[in-house]
């Protein structure tokens, strides 16, 4: 009897596999399915797509969402999102600490964050999918607390003025007020503090990513698990109005290599959007951006590179309580509350000399001991007795030029649009940046938020859009 059972199970298992294969074949032959008599191409991306978005993180998905939302006749544009890492194990989006603030010094940044928080607050109206449960991004509106020393106090006041002009609700606090409000802070060395009272805090980036992914798939965007290995482009030598000759390129095909195989599919496209995050620099080089004599527009590379940042999670039972905002110390160390069990997340941006090697995502625990813990313990005495629970590392898509995003088309490779380079504040500005890029693609100019100072041409003309940090 046993032998019959095992044989039966083996035979049954094989039959099930064959059945599903036969079913798949029949389904593809029936009208409506895409049938290829030569070989099965269901795992390949389509042969042509109007827009190809390189990178499926929060920025890429946000651009896809807004492209499908803002197109005039519904279903006009075919969008393909190519993502190499389908578990998002190294993507910056999900490794992010998830904070959102309006306390920037560049007005456009404030506007971007203001729209993004509005998007996040109404996320279930924007990203609703029929028959699916609503999203809960677990937004903790606890605000950001930026501390400034004597030297930075004047800059901080200026920044707060700009932020208030744009509509952010920020208040300035003296050390006295700080001690009253947050008794666990040691205000030694703090001259001024700015506290965001509304629309600031932190949320769950994974939830936002999944919500966007779900919504975007329901709008008809195609996903492909693959890597972009080549751009086929055609170029034209044209003369500008001032008579100089420029070589304008247009990408007409993208070669997408399928994961773990040598197969690649050439995808014919009209527009390419570079939202590859920390790897955008490599994607830009594939398109030929930066191949030319340095100092010319042809030779200007996209200055986005990988930078590794550590995040540590620790437990401190005597630590600050529920009203703890996202605190940023003048030394550059930051921390925030995580959950309700006296856990905290925090880290520090290393200086240029101590930049860790971005080859892998290994965590350096000595960095915590030497660079993060001492300033933390000095600022919040309760943190002298903390216990590190875990740590992880993630990449910044670090813009070495001015640490602010690149948005909009490239002047020479005219159908490549950028949405990258946000150097650590990409997640919080993603919805607004997605809308801006979609407007640029569909209308030809920025309609709601004017991001013309974030265009690529500033790398050639040298106009930096730099944040005046108080650090």
């Amino acid at each position: 009897a046993h032998d019959v059972k095992t044989v039966g199970r083996l035979g049954g298992g094989d039959r099930d596999g064959k059945m599903s294969e036969i079913k798949k074949k029949i389904q593809s032959i029936l009208p409506g399915g895409d049938w290829n008599p030569l070989y099965d191409t269901s795992h390949l991306p389509p042969e042509s797509s109007d827009v190809v978005i390189v990178g499926g993180g929060v920025l890429g998905l946000s651009v896809a969402y807004w492209l499908k939302k803002l197109e005039k006749p519904r279903g006009a544009i075919r969008v393909l999102v190519v993502e190499r890492d389908h578990t998002y194990s190294r993507a910056s989006t999900v490794l992010s600490v998830g904070g959102i603030r309006q306390q920037f010094s560049v007005p456009e940044n404030v506007q971007l964050s203001l729209f993004s928080i509005d998007f996040l607050r109404n996320i279930n109206e924007y990203l609703a999918v029929a028959d699916d449960p609503p999203l809960d991004i677990q937004f903790n509106p606890s605000g950001y607390l930026l501390l400034a020393s004597e030297k930075g106090a004047a800059i901080m006041e200026n920044n707060v003025k700009v932020q208030r002009q744009e509509g952010a609700k920020v208040c300035l606090m003296s050390p006295e007020q700080l001690r009253n409000k947050f008794p666990w802070i040691n205000t030694e060395g703090v001259a001024l503090a700015s506290y965001g009272m509304e629309h600031e805090g932190w949320f769950d980036p994974w939830c936002l990513l999944q919500g966007l992914r779900r919504k975007v798939q329901s709008m008809g965007v195609l996903f492909c698990r693959g890597e972009v290995t080549r751009f086929m482009s055609s170029s034209n030598l044209m003369k500008t109005a001032s008579g100089e000759e420029v070589n304008l390129k247009r990408i007409h095909e993208v070669h997408v290599k399928i994961d773990q195989s040598l197969e690649y599919q050439p995808v014919e496209c009209a527009i390419v959007i570079n939202a590859a995050g920390a790897w955008s620099g490599q994607v830009a080089e594939l398109a030929g951006i930066g191949k030319g004599p340095p100092g010319t527009l042809q030779g200007t590379k996209l200055p986005v590179e990988l930078r590794k940042r550590y995040v540590y999670l620790w437990h401190c039972p005597q630590g600050p309580g529920l009203e703890t905002p996202f605190v940023i110390d003048p030394s550059g160390t930051y921390f925030r509350r995580e959950g309700l069990g006296h856990n905290y997340l925090g880290g520090c941006s290393p200086t240029e000399e101590e930049e860790p090697d971005p080859g892998n995502l290994e965590v350096d625990h000595d960095f915590f001991q030497d660079r993060v813990w001492p300033p933390l313990a000095q600022r919040v005495p309760a943190f002298e007795t903390l216990k590190v629970r875990s740590a992880w590392a993630g990449y910044y898509d670090y813009n070495t030029f001015d640490q602010n995003g690149v948005v909009g088309p490239h002047p020479l490779v005219i159908n490549m649009y950028f949405a990258t380079g946000f150097s650590g504040h990409g997640l919080q500005q993603a919805p607004a940046v997605g809308r801006a890029v979609a407007e640029m693609v569909l209308e030809g100019h920025f309609q709601t938020i004017n991001l013309s100072s974030f265009l690529f041409s500033r790398f050639y003309s040298g106009e930096k859009v730099q944040e005046h940090n108080i650090i």
Binding site: P46, E47, D50, P73, I77, R250, C269, A270, P409, G444
Partner: protein
Amino acid sequence: MLKIIIPTAMLMPMTWLSKPNMIWINSTTYSLLISLISLPYLNQLGDNSLNLSLLFFSDSLSAPLLVLTTWLLPLMLMASQSHLSKETLARKKLYITMLIILQLLLIMTFTATELIMFYILFEATLIPTLIIITRWGNQTERLNAGLYFLFYTLMGSLPLLVALLYIQNTTGTLNFLIIQYWAKPISATWSNIFLWLACMMAFMVKMPLYGLHLWLPKAHVEAPIAGSMVLAAVLLKLGGYGMMRITILLNPMTNQMAYPFMMLSLWGMVMTSSICLRQTDLKSLIAYSSVSHMALVIVAVLIQTPWSYMGATALMIAHGLTSSMLFCLANSNYERVHSRTMILARGLQTILPLMAAWWLLASLANLALPPTINLIGELFVVMASFSWSNMTIVLMGTNIIITALYTLYMLTTTQRGKYTHHIKNINPSFTRENALMALHLLPLLLLSLNPKIVLG
């Protein structure tokens, strides 16, 4: 007729034996010469036909279609030069050979006397078209499209074979010249109903009739430019031509049997025009507009009055030229932007002004602007259907309005407005493209000076 058939057949060895840099020049020039040879056939003598031999004849219905077919080959060759430039030499020659074979079969179809010969050639034209669509089409869906195209037409035309053999057995001949005098009125028995259906369904599918039109948008969108041109301009007219020939045998039953098809055509006309308003893909829009125009031809042929026949013929020629020109314009767009979506390539008037002029003229012809022959055709059909039944004028009027709407929508979306950033470096219009458009438009405009030629 041999003076057209043999040169066309000899175009094939000429293509294969030409030097690599001369294939396009040779084939285009010689096919233009052949089209000039076919022009004298337009000089028809009144009601009778020009009987050239036992096998071939031409009368005032088939002569304009013949000239259209021969005129189209050089245009197809000019349009295909750019997308074939990257293929190997053998493939290029094969493509041109396919086009030439198709041309040959079409010439013989339009001038056939025996209905069986007509049928055989009618079916034979499917093969080169299928090869062109499935081998040189753009996307994976082309295999599906080719299948739909092939099997819809085959399913419709197999009964036609049976019907033709039956008629051969009963009347003893299928020679068209004889049959028009020997045709006896058929009574409305069940077997005659099936005979009527069998005869007409092949052409209904080819036209296409609204309920059986599913193959057309697919085939047009997936076909390369020459495939789209020949499909829109000539292959659809095969259906109209066949219907006009075969209705002579089927009187007087057509008066009753035609009702369902009239309803489908009248309704389908308005429906497909409305679908055009919602299309985002340029080629798909032009394909649906073809269905809408052909529905008018079906209505005209089924009414069977002299004026409706004149309108149908004029409309077929006019639509052939206009539709083919629109496809060429859409292709010139596609070759530059690599996308068929209309909203991604806007504001072309600023960048390519001459092409915008061609777009304007083609769109005006499409919406039946006086004094083009499009208008004459449509007007005759509207008048004939009004006399058949007063109510049809409502539907016809709605169709004319919606045609104007979607044509202008297509024009303003692609030409007007501010151009998008990513089309700044498109190539300017080639002389070849401008010549192509001019050669499409010239016959259309000249015919409006002397429409008598195309009014069968």
